[in-house]
């Protein structure tokens, strides 16, 4: 249990950094985890190739809420490409059935590496990724809206 519920996860599930709403987002996405009905909305606005602002709201388990909170901390204000790459790496980690990725990738993930254990529980994979699915869709929408160049990467959920 302690391996799954790392302290950073428990902390972030309460801290909920970045919870809120944007006034006029460029992109937004609402996602539901049909297993449990958990929901989240992620909103983004861009400035050129930068994810200028992110806000989220949602209800869900500690894993999903912590994932959103940490996502906010790590991608808000960052270059789009970096945010998207982080998302891909995080997806890879969660699909890795509880095993770590290469040291370089684990370093890139910083605190998100606390989610390594989630991959052992296939029913929780969606919890960890729900916010990131919303981010991907919101960014795709925002790019479309603002005409920001670059394709959002097309990969597995």
């Amino acid at each position: 249990m302690e391996q799954l519920y790392q302290q950073v996860i428990l902390d972030h599930s309460k801290a909920r950094s970045g919870e809120g709403e944007l006034d006029s987002p460029h992109g937004a996405s609402f996602q539901v985890n049909p297993t449990c009905g958990d929901e989240c909305t992620v909103q983004v606005s861009l400035e050129g190739q930068r994810l200028a602002q992110l806000a989220w709201s949602g209800k869900g388990c500690s894993i999903s809420q912590a994932s959103l909170s940490l996502m906010y901390e790590m991608v808000d204000g960052e270059p789009l490409e970096q945010a998207e790459q982080l998302g891909e790496t995080f997806r890879e980690l969660i699909h890795n059935r509880g095993h770590e990725l290469t040291p370089e990738k684990m370093e890139l993930l910083e605190d998100l590496s606390a989610f390594t254990g989630v991959g052992r529980y296939s029913a929780r994979v969606k919890c960890a990724l729900l916010g990131w699915m919303a981010l991907r869709e919101a960014l795709a929408q925002a790019r479309h809206h603002t005409g920001a160049s670059g394709q959002p990467p097309q990969t597995q959920a």
Binding site: M1, Y5, L10, G37, G60, C61, S62, I63, C127
Partner: protein, 418 residues
């Protein structure tokens, strides 16, 4: 003192371990039951000896398969207090409920001739459901309403999680169908059927009973209950996945237009048009889940051998222990009646501040299998002001040790997330 049952040994899956060697404590019977060896043996024996196309072949194995299939129908009919011709095989209770709602739809679209006119719905008509329903007995009626222009109304739920029988005035002269659950898969509340049926009859509305939870956990006599239609699923009552049944009063099945169409439910087929067989065949298109009906036969035989009264008493005892144990855990909120009277051993609860997923995970880590989420019943969760819950549900094989492990586990949960 209740005569406690000791049947876990009949259920092969229950002897397995989970999460690195922990003995399994299975408290998710409300979602799906485990199957005794007797059921698995019956299915296998059928597949190894009697498997063939039913109602079709002139050869011996086809004859045997047909007899096995129809004798399963007759056993299941007897088990729920119905006549042979009143039981239609479906893949699950959900299909059975859809079969009825689509029967009404087809009648409304002009199918089924004069006989089916009694099932026609149009704007001005109303369909009554309840806030307690599983999505399987709600969404099909929403769809029917949207397609026919009928209006959907519903009976509310009391703070205890029961149908509010004071509010039966929702059923009016405009009501054509009343669809309601016999037992809630969230609150465990068992519905007092008589007043609902009485009210529905008094306004000439058809009644559709979701007997999914009840048929598995208490004696059910559909003729006594007096409903027009009822649905239940094999996998909830020790039977295989992939088989369920619709009950319909003979006279109504005679008049209801078919739903799925195809082979084995037709009489004369030309390129232009088709005439249909009488029920139950009219509703059984294509190759049926024959081996699974044989398994379901074995399941109702098993249940009858135990005795549904004894089973209910055993589960009632388990329900009481679960309720008592839950009451000991600080802060935990029960969603449903606090006493085990008129209630199944289906115990849903909220641990404030801890999401059900996290509750379930910590229990799972101790080998305890419960259900978390909305249990396919979002409206009743909304009624209780929560989004999801954790649910422990007992079966004929549940032991006091299972309950003790669960209560201990729940204390652990509260401690972990404190």
């Amino acid at each position: 003192m209740t005569d406690l049952l000791d049947l876990a040994g009949d259920f092969p899956l229950l002897s397995r371990t989970v999460r690195e060697g922990k003995p399994l404590v299975y408290l998710d019977t409300g979602a799906t039951s485990q199957k005794p060896g007797q059921v698995l043996d019956a299915e296998r024996a059928f597949n190894e000896r009697h498997n063939a196309a039913v109602h079709r072949g002139a050869h011996q194995i086809a004859e045997e398969a047909t007899e096995a299939f129809e004798s399963a129908r007759s056993a299941v009919a007897a088990f729920v207090g119905a006549d042979f011709g009143e039981i239609v095989w479906t893949k699950n209770a959900t299909e059975a409920l859809n079969l009825v709602s689509h029967g009404f739809l087809n009648a409304s679209l002009g199918r089924g001739g004069a006989d089916a006119a009694r099932f026609k719905l149009a704007p001005g008509d109303e369909i009554v459901v309840t806030e307690l329903e599983h999505h399987a007995n709600l969404v099909p009626w929403q769809e029917l309403a949207a397609k026919t222009g009928a209006k959907l109304r519903w009976i509310p739920v009391t703070p205890e999680g029961r149908l509010d029988l004071e509010q039966l005035s929702v059923i009016t002269d405009r009501t054509r169908v009343v669809a309601f659950t016999h037992a809630s898969n969230v609150t465990g509340a068992v519905t007092e059927v008589a007043p609902v049926v009485e009210r529905a009859k008094s306004v000439g509305a058809y009644t559709v009973l979701d007997a999914c939870q009840s048929a598995a956990h208490m004696p059910v006599d559909l003729h006594d209950l007096g409903v027009d239609f009822a649905a239940f699923s094999g996998h909830k009552m020790l039977g295989p996945t992939g088989v369920g049944a619709l009950y319909g009063r003979e006279e109504l099945l005679q008049a209801l237009p078919p739903f799925l169409t195809g082979g084995s439910m037709v009489e004369v087929v030309t390129m232009e048009e088709t005439t249909f067989m009488p029920p139950p065949q009219r509703f059984e298109a294509g190759t049926q889940m024959v081996a699974q009906t044989v398994g379901m036969h074995a399941a109702v035989d098993y249940l009858s051998a135990v005795g549904m009264e004894r089973l209910a008493a055993h589960e009632d005892h388990m329900g009481q222990l679960l309720l008592e144990g839950l009451a000991e855990v600080p802060g935990v909120r029960l969603l449903g009646p606090t006493s085990s009277a008129q209630r199944l051993a289906v115990i849903a609860f909220d641990v404030p501040g801890v999401h059900p997923h996290d509750v379930g995970q910590v229990l799972d880590d101790q080998g305890i299998a419960v259900r978390v989420g909305h249990h396919c019943a979002q409206p009743v969760h909304r009624r209780f002001g929560v989004h999801a819950s954790t649910r422990a549900s007992a079966g004929v094989y549940t032991t006091t040790a299972d309950v003790e492990a669960f209560v201990k586990g729940l204390h652990q949960v509260v401690k972990f997330f404190a």
